[in-house]
Amino acid sequence: MLRVRIALALGLGITVVAVAVVLSSSPPALLATNSVAESTGLSETGTRPFRICQGDERLPRGTDSIQASLEAYTGPRLTLTAYAAGRVVTSGELAAGWSGRAVPISVGTVRRTLSPVTVCLTATLVDEPLQVVGSATSAARAARGTLAQPIGGRIRLVYLGAGRASWLARARSVARNMEFGRAWSGAWIAPVLVLLMLVAASVASALVLSARE
């Protein structure tokens, strides 16, 4: 019984510490976008391997994730590589199996702002066609497909990096944001949520202990 108590206390303690660690970290922040609207589907990739490159991008300092507007139900493995003056400045991969229409791909952190940069997206094993989303532009400004042909427009790219304020510092604003978009708005939402979860955890813990008796 004592060992169960110790295991429970230790487990809950580790969980609390883990929550504290997570809350003391900073959430990803939007550093910049390439100002391309998601107004149209530019092209469909088909089921062959593809490489799409888009020049004239500006890579902000601190970028550690780049979100490309590609849409798929079961997306393939994607590789993103950014080039400046012909050299690779950062790259990253996204495992196959993603879903949705805005794909964040983690990349190595960019140390300083770079421009112009060419961002290339590559997939070698494509089984389900992808929709490339962005805005139509002139052929000269458009992203280029596998055979360097323009794909009809530019893809929306979003550059993400670590934010400055921690989750803990933003707790009040998160709690305030939770008040909106509800039937009964008010400052009670976040406290009630925390209270409900605490009650659930306490009841579960009490049951774990009593079940051993």
Binding site: R3, V4, A7, L8, G11, L12, I14, T15, A18, V19, V22, P27, L30, T47, Q67, Y73, T74, P76, R77, A96, G97, S99, G100, R101, A102, P104, S106, T124, L125, D127, E128, V158, L160, W167, V174, R176, N177, M178, E179, F180, G181, R182, A183, W184, S185, I189, V192, L193, L196, M197, V199, A200, A201, V203, A204, L207, V208, S210, A211, R212
Partner: protein, 507 residues
Amino acid sequence: MSGRTATRGARPARTHTLAASVKAPRLKRVPRAAWICALVAFLNAACWSLVTYAFQAPDEPSHFAYVKQLAETGSLPTVGLEGLSSEELLTLDGLRSEEVREEPQNRAIVTQAEQSQLRRDLAAAQASKGRGSPGAGVAASEPPLYYAVEAIPYILARHASVLARLQLMRLTSALMAGLTALFVFMFVREVLPAAPPWAWTVAGLAIALTPLLGFMSGAVNPDSLLFAVSAAIFYALARAFRRGLDTAGAVTIGALLAIGFLTKVNFLGLVPGILVGLAVLAARAARVAGRSAYRTLALALAIGFSPGVIYVSVNALSQRPLFGLVSAAIQTVHGSPFAELNYIWQFYLPRLPGTVDDFPGLFMAQQLWFRGYVGLYGWFDTTFPAWVYSVALIPTGAVALLCGHALFQRRGVLRARAVELAVYASICVGLMALIAADSYHEFPALDAAYAQVRYLLPLLPLLGAALALAALGAGRRWGPIAGTVIVIVFLAHDLFSQLLVAARYYG
């Protein structure tokens, strides 16, 4: 005369007392721990109902529309009609639903100006003319039972805003999470009767704290009722395997079959396994009770299939496809049977040598199923950082090893109960085959259209049993500690999942 009246008046009272005295011990036979697990599951799903932004659970707008149609007009929505009611559309506009959905960088409304706009939209929505919602998108083809249950909170709050009705409906779904956890506890108690009670508690609590159960049952979705019905059927079957199939058990299983048919089309995947179970139970009972056992089986089937018979009859009279949506699915010829079998296999397992690779570059078990279980919320747009899915393999592997150890230790018992286990396995295979076969209809335009873990949650009782076995597999000395750790891991997983969702919408 007065005497007769008095006697007449007394009889129902006596019947009521008898009924109460029969019911009360049955409810009292449910251990307190099972009720507490149900309470934890309800509280957890209630938290999820608050943390998930309105209409940002899979197909929630369509399911809401179905309830609206049923509650306001008493009729079912029309299959194939996509348009929602203007009341719901205005609310979705005010919530910026389309911008938030599948765009993880877009937050929920977070400014006073947006909230004011939402209030105006809600007021306009309430003032909008028109009753019901003839279109209910993907929900329209589902049977009506869950929606009929949800019509109760809807009608109670009919004068309140769409969001108030939605919240009450979500809380009603949360009650179903409580039932699911309760029946999982009862199922594990039946299948592991020799296990110490703490092992049943581990199963009940872990399932109660399963994030995906909380997420789905904290939203308006018939899956929440399907999970509860499925857990109840697993329990009823396990009870019958342990104590024999009596009339009460057969009626219960039959009634649950009927409820399942009326809840969600996916229930069809469970039916073959349940029928196999009933046949085995009847054959066993026949050794003792003779032919009357088959009458009991017939009773269960008659009750269970009565909604299906009515449905087919109505369709026949109205000259619609006999089995509705199912007819269309059966008639859709798509590739050879071997190709379909190959697809179904690869939907879950690595491809066999010499077969066509239907999912090149994808390891379905890990990249879709495991990742989907660990964390994929909202409209499949809310995920943990990639490393979390790798770390999650450690506790999963540990649980699998401990469970395997426990099964090995009990191999003698397993042999003795092989038929019962085969029945549970056939239920499992039936559901998995149905989901994969449905996905195959969309293939190759979509690789794995229905590779969503929520569709497998009707099998939660088996997960509960596996977790209890894992705790037992740690041995008499360490078992209770392993069980405690399992509950803590599920609690932590749940907590971090809710933080993830809160960060995604309100961060």
